[in-house]
Structure formats: C-alpha cells, structure tokens
Subunit: 372 residues, 2 copies
C-alpha cells in the first residue's frame, strides 16, 4: 500500500507563557510537528494523532535523508489506508517534555542557558492537550474531525473531549484506560527508580556530565517490553528457546527472550531521553479524569460531546479490555455515540501498533463515516 | 495456635565433593538446618520443607535472642497446625548457594580464602535436591514421609520424586510450575540485569569492596513484589491512594504503592545477598524436567512413585493454576495418586505463605492421611 512518502518536520515557537498543572509556568516553548494530506477550505478534515510513551511527531512517511526511518503508525496513516490522507489532513506532534525536538528536558532553559534537565517540570496529559490546542490555533483548526491515539495517546484523545468539548467531533481511544491501576503505577515506579538511582543520572543533569543513565534507561525499557507483549505471544515468539543451543550455567545469554530484551534495552538508550521517560510515566500515573468527581467516571465524562470509537485487544494485560469497557459504559450512560471493538490479537498492548487486518478494518470503517 | 517455640539452627559439614549440574565440583560444603518435632523410631515421619527464593531453613518458631524473628511458614508448621509437629519430624534447610549460613557466595572459597562471590557456581534445583539427600543421609532418613514446598520450593518437591523416587512417599507441590514461561524468565532477567549492571556489583566481588549492589537488589525486589501480588489485591490494598494526600508533580512519593515497593526494596538490601539472588533466579529459569524428554512432561514424570498434593491460587499470575494443572494432568496420565486444590485467594503468588483457612484446611487434611 502507498505511503505518504517523504515528509518534513515543521517547527513552531509559541511566545505566550503556559501555566502547567503542577504550578510551573513555561515562558515559551517550541513544538515540532508533521502534517500529511491537505487541510480543506472549511478546515473540517483535520485529524490529530497523539503519540504514546516512546512515539513522536513522525507518524507516517520517511525523511529524505533517512529512507529507513518510517513513521511509527505508517501502516495506519496514508493514502488509501484506514486513516486516509486523501481525505484527511493529519497532524502528528511531539509532546511538550519530549525528546524529538519539542521543548523538553534536553532544551536550553532560558533562565540558565543550560539544558533544563531535572528542572523541566512534570507535565500532564491535560498539559499536553492544552499545548496541542495552541498548535491547532496556529494551524487554523477550530475543530478536529478526530483526535486519535493508542495507550497514553488514547488518554490524550479522551482528554480533548473533556477540555475542549467543542473542538473535537470524534475521539478514537485505543488500547487505553481511564486511569492506571496500582500495578500499572508499580511498573512505572520500578522503571523510574532504575533511572533515578543510576549513578549516571546526576539528579537529571547528566547532559552536563557528558553521560546518559544508560543502565537505568535500559532496565526501564526491558521492563516496559514485558508489559507491552502478551504472555502468550512471548511464549509463541521466544518460549524457552536457547540462544546458543545449551545452558551456559552463568550470566551470559541463555534464552532468546534474554537476548531480545537486552537488545531492545540497549537500542533504546541510544535515542531516548531519560528525563522524558520519567515525565511521561508521571503523566500516565497522574491521568485520572474521575479524580475530581469522587471517582465517578460517568460524571467526569458528562461534558464530552464527541462521538467515540474505543478499541481494546484481547491479550493486552497492561490496559486490558475491561479498562476500555469502563470508558465505554461511562460514555453510554451519558448518552454518547460510542462504537466499541474488542479485537482478538495475540500481541498484547503493542497490538495497537500492528497491521492487524480486523483492527485496521474497523478503524477504517469508522473513519469512512466521519464527514469532512 | 501454639508455635514450636524457641528453635536452634544446626550446622553440618560434608567433606565428600559434590559434582554440580553445570560441571563445577564443590570439594566440601556446609548446610544449616532446623528441625521441629521428633523423628520416630522407624524414621517414617520426616517431612522436608523446601524454601523459595528469599526463604531459609528458619521455617517455624523463633530464636531465643530474636523473639520477633518468626519462621517464614510458622502459620503452617507447628503443634496442631496443618503440618503438625506433634506427628511429624520437620526439617528446614538453607539451600546450597544461599545466604543464611549454608555454603554460598558469601562463604570463603578454600582455594583463595576470600568469599566465593561470582566464582560460586550456578546451582540447579537438581543440585539442591542432591544436597538435601546428603542431609537426609546424615539425619538417618531413608525415606521422607513428605517433601513440601511453594513456588521454587514446589519444584524441589517435584524434583525429589524424580531424582529419588524411592525416598519420598508424598510430594506437596504448591503455587509452582513444571517450568518457567518466557515471561517468567523475562522478569528474572530484568532483575538480574539490575544487579549485574549496578556499579557496586563489581563482577560479584563486592564483598571485597565493602559495598553491596543495593540499587540493583532493591530494583530486583521491587519488581519481584509486583509479580508476587495479584493485580486485584494491589488494587484493593493500595489502589491509587496518595501517600501525602496530593500529587507532588515530582519524583518523590505520590502513591502508596510506590512507598510500599521502595520500603520492601530497601529492606531486602539489608539482609539478602545479591549473588544468591542471581543463583536462585537461574535455578528457577533452568528447571524443566521435560527438557530431556522432548518437552513431554508426562514422560518426564513417569518415574515418580510418590503420591502428590498439588495446589494453586486463583489470582496467582506468576505461576497460574493452569501451570499446576499441567503437573496434575501429567501425573494422572501416569496413574499417580494426585490430589489437586485450586484455591480462591486474592493474594496472588504470595498466597502460599498466608494463613488462608481453606488452604490450610486442605493441606492439613492431606497430612492427616499420611501414615507415619
């Protein structure tokens, strides 16, 4: 199937200060974003794609000088694809606090001239959405045809319908949850502690020391991968297969799964920022729209006006189908228009990134009915 | 209910060398053990209790100078308890490679006079059982009335029936599995990498540096606790409760679950040895009696002659009931006498350590029918 082809990231600077949920104010910030397709004259065909933990603004296509750097959701977004760029104007943006070009911990703090590091404030899903709204203003988009995301990207799609009910017609909330469980938070906490206690973290000021907390970031990513895959898929893909045909009786590599996790962990440390990892896990932990409603999700979602597409995956044990159903029930009890797909897929949480035929068919069918 | 009261650990030295599964030979070794109750004249009432990852020989009772140091299975073992020390002579032993007094990485290597550290060989469940048989010889026990254990302790009970089919009449295999899954191995691998990459690990020779790899051991324990508890119990016990009533927007403690995990992790580093942790996770990973039978568990268990009690817990996601059923089916197809209890308990893997009335009733009923 065709790709959007060569794309070029854009940058926009915002000079109006932004007050964040935690009390801090950023005097100014940059956002890096990409667009695919054309905004129509009415401005009615714009779709925002929100990224998850390690994602970015690079949703589809490739860069002219990096032909192998394919956007993370290229299988879903493009001409003739489920999110069809022949019909829709699609926007991807690197979130505030990110490490792919938008203002974040690696950026220079105007107050000191040095990278923010640990001084970059914790940001929330609410903050991300407020910042995305600035981008929408800049692009001349009064109302998104749809906001779409998987995992913490789905939290952003949901948050759009609450913070800006008049500015989003459809929200696609995929492999997500209305809030993290204690177990979800626990996994995030172990990952954070791995980074925070790495001697190379230097209280978040590792840039100045010319090092990265690679040990901690590696462990965080290894642990993350366990929660992204299903038990059954891991069994199918790796089982108890040995790397070298026999047991080593040592601490080298015995099993294929060990080799896989180490490889993924090592690779991650070469391109991802540890402070961004910390910030993003906190945004996940904090997200809980029902918090101000005594835990009543139905009451929390009452102000949403969008139509919803919610999808979950049968083997996702990070954000199980049960968590998506909580969102669906709360929306239905508010009389909202909700489509829900519970998709049989063996790949666990990461299923939302895969080119599964049934999954893509239902997403495509949903987009087909969105008027532009 | 009554306890066995004040107990005193014993030590025995074995001078005959022992060849280990990995090819190494230990010239001599010590075992530390405890006994409760009296061995009868026929030697027919002896029960071996095998410990799990962080357990020890101190199964029941207290020490005269440590009245709060209660044995880890004191709720199960004692006069009038499910494993009744009025009827049975119960033995607890610290496994080879342990850190509670039996020869292990902290012991002096006779070849160098320094602690073994990383030179202590990887040992297996098979090795532990071979060593336990030496202790049985020393104690004059030709045949155990029963061998009992939970988790990796259950693996040892199962292994007894395979390595010494004539020396065990009953095996109680609780919250265990015939082999680890890829996901189980993955969790162990992240824990190992946390320890191995801690700069204070010093290739396992940290004793000589006067430090312990506390960061790594802490992370390993935090991660372990996530897998020992069930999602539902974590939700019930901690939920999203905040430690200080409000979000910190930082990396201190926001949620109760964070506080709990940090506390458990920190505490563990004060008493457990990192090399023992590594060795024990490898013993878990390697255990797979069906490996030499082309994965055919029924064939692997054909030589067992014991009667079996197998128990699992409904919310145990580390070693789920399904894994226990694999053992049960393989034994039944071999015509063995098997009792199986699948116990409703919210506490996940750690249920096997708890004083659950139904659980203790069935264990007690099983022991009641064992002739002495």
């Amino acid at each position: 199937m065709k790709s959007v082809g060569v794309v070029t990231p854009q940058r926009v600077s915002f000079d109006a200060p932004i007050a964040l949920s935690g009390g801090a104010t950023l005097p100014a910030f940059d956002l890096v974003y990409e667009t695919y397709g054309e905004l129509n004259a009415e401005g009615s065909n714009a779709v925002l794609v929100c990224h998850a933990l390690s994602g970015s603004h690079h949703v589809a296509g490739v860069y002219a000088d990096q032909p192998n750097n394919v956007g993370w959701w290229d299988n879903l977004v493009g001409p003739g694809k489920p999110l069809d760029t022949n019909r829709f104007f699609v926007v991807g943006v690197n979130n505030l606090g990110g490490c792919y070009g938008s203002t974040g911990p690696m950026s220079a703090n105007p107050a000191t001239g040095k990278p923010y590091g640990a001084d970059f404030p914790v940001v929330t899903v609410e903050d991300w959405v407020a910042v995305q709204a600035r981008l929408a203003d800049f692009l001349g988009i009064d109302c998104w045809a749809a906001v779409l995301g998987g995992s913490v990207g789905g939290m952003q799609a949901l948050e759009w319908t609450l913070q800006f009910p008049e500015r989003v017609r459809h929200a696609l909330v995929i492999a997500s949850t209305p809030k993290l469980t204690a177990q979800n938070i626990a996994f995030n906490e172990v990952a954070r502690q791995a980074i925070l206690t790495d001697p190379d973290f230097h209280g978040g000021r590792f840039y100045e020391h010319g090092v990265v907390p690679a040990r901690g970031l590696r462990l965080a990513r290894m642990l993350g991968h366990i929660t992204y895959l299903s038990d059954s898929q891991m069994a199918e893909k790796f089982g108890r297969e040995l790397k070298n045909g026999k047991l080593s009786y040592g601490y080298g590599t015995d099993f294929q799964i060990e080799s896989y996790l180490r490889y993924q962990g090592d690779k991650f440390t070469t391109y991802f920022d540890a402070n961004t990892y910390l910030i993003t896990t906190k945004a996940l932990d904090y997200f809980d729209p029902a918090r101000d409603y005594g835990g009543d999700l139905q009451a929390a979602l009452a102000r949403a006006k969008a139509s919803f597409f919610v999808a979950s995956f049968s083997t996702d044990w990070r954000f199980s189908p049960e968590r998506s159903r909580e969102i669906v029930y709360a929306l239905m009890h508010n009389g909202r228009d909700v489509s829900y797909a519970e998709i049989e897929c063996s790949a666990g949480h990461d299923s939302f990134l895969l080119d599964d035929a049934h999954y893509h068919a239902v997403v495509g069918a949903y987009f087909d009915r969105i008027e532009t």
